[in-house]
Amino acid sequence: MALLELKNVESFYGNVQALKGISMHVNEGEIVTLLGANGAGKSTTLRSISGLLAVARGEILFDSQSVLNIPCEKVVSRGIAHVPEGRRIFPGLTVRENIMIGSSARGNLSRAKLEAEVEEMFEIFPPLERLSKSLGWSLSGGEQQMLAVARGLMSKPKLLLLDEPSLGLAPIIVQQLFATIRKIRDRGMTILLVEQNANMALSVADRGYVLVTGEITVEGTPDQLLNNEEVRSAYLGGGKK
């Protein structure tokens, strides 16, 4: 039984249909990636799962229970953490505070427990430790991305939704970031990864789907996708029409 399952999900932005019947699944312990050009519907898919966007038709099952159109706060407590596009760390809170606030869905934890968990996060993301007291807005793009993931992990999710983590980051930072993503998966996390950087995403994923204007056109393993003409054309155009 898949951990996450989408069946014929349709979503709209006002009059425009963004998702035209998406069906996909993520098994426990996998990294699955959603690829596609800008505007294809990748972020929309994540937002439909986490509750930021209402779903018009279809079904979303998590751990065999429906999470369709339930409030964001409830989705988090069910065990899905969404690290959104653009990181969106809280600019006026410190790194330490950003991390601690990630646990909000788990109710009131003792100060000691929280501090211990923050230390755990510093082990996974060592560069954040020295920035512990720095305010969110002062961090670089790569540091903010790490912080956003750490914050997401604090809700102790079963499924992590990562939306375009490499956006605006220099290549070497992206390498480090993806190494960390592998590390997190190895510790037992299931990850649904949305990425524009297809090569990087396919280097860590177990499986992938390709979205074109709101529909899934191809799915398969990284090997299958890397050598697939359709993937290429989804990103770079046909070269011939």
Partner: protein
């Protein structure tokens, strides 16, 4: 010479006390803006309600301290009702309907009180029986001292709440990025309700403190509100420290203006100062926070 210092200190002292009242109202006002982006034109009326709650409870025979307690509870309830009735139905709409609604709420509150209490301003006793203490030739009214004292405590409490507790951090997160706060599991609607309740209580405290000085009247809130808004803009729209500084500055300018230039026109100084800031430096002394959207 000593006389000159004494008089000016006197004027400064009353200006600071007055400014503290504005600061209390401004604090509540800024909190609501930061959490919800709503400019609450009814903020001053919370002060008015605070004053009239006191009148009601004292009139029913309650001892002073109990009346204060009950009034604060009542203010909390009013804040919650305001949140549910005025903010919540309009939370997704643009700023214009919301501003107008808060104006409507202000009219409603004032006229409901008018219906129950009539148009006559009511006097109210001070907190302490002694009228004042004298230090070095300067006479300091006990009510003014109380105002300053309570304001300092309120500001300290607010600082503690927001900077030192996790709950306060959650409130801050809510005002910095509402959707992200939801994604992290923060119950945003509850946070906002709390903000309204807290702001209403702050307003009520201001009203209770200033009533012995100004009399309790229907319109007392409107004028205080306008000064508080001016303070917020002068200090820097959306900035907590800025609004306190702006409020104190305003109180002092008014006090000196009344003393040296003219008493009837003292209200005009606030508006003139506001006018100047809006035209020359709309972001105020401390500027707008990064998280504010234009």
């Amino acid at each position: 010479m000593a006389n000159f210092i004494v008089i000016n200190f006197q004027v400064l002292f009353s200006g600071l006390a007055l400014g503290s009242i504005y600061a209390l109202v401004a604090l509540g006002f800024v909190l609501i803006i930061r959490a919800t982006n709503v400019v609450n034109f009814a903020q001053g009326d919370f002060a008015m309600l605070g004053g009239f709650s006191m009148v009601a409870f004292l009139g029913a025979g309650a001892p002073y301290w109990l009346a204060i307690l009950l009034s604060l509870v009542a203010m909390g309830v009013f804040g919650l009702i305001f949140n549910l009735g005025v903010y919540y139905p309009l939370r997704h709409r643009s700023f214009l309907p919301v501003i107008i609604s808060t104006l409507g709420a202000s009219i409603f509150m004032q006229n409901t009180v008018l219906y129950f209490f009539g148009p006559q301003p009511r006097p109210m006793e001070k907190v302490f029986k002694t009228s004042g203490i004298e230090v070095g030739g300067v006479f300091m009214d006990t009510q003014y001292l109380t105002i300053l004292g309570v304001t300092i405590i309120a500001v300290a409490f607010q600082y503690f709440l927001f900077e030192r507790t996790l709950f306060g951090k959650k409130l801050q997160a809510t005002s910095q990025d509402k959707d992200m706060a939801r994604l992290v599991g923060i119950p945003v609607a509850t946070m906002i309700a709390f903000t309204f309740i807290y702001s209403a209580v702050l307003g009520g405290v201001a009203g209770i403190l200033v009533s012995p000085v100004l009399f309790v009247s229907i319109g007392m809130g409107s004028i205080i509100a306008l000064k508080a808004f001016s303070a917020t803009i002068i200090g820097g729209f959306g900035d907590v420290t800025g609004s306190i500084v702006g409020a104190l500055l305003l109180g002092v300018v008014e006090s000196f203006g009344a003393h040296y230039i003219s008493v009837p026109y003292k209200d005009a100084f606030a508006f003139l100062l506001l006018f100047i800031f809006l035209l020359l430096r709309p972001q105020g002394i401390f500027g707008e926070k990064i998280s504010e959207k234009a």
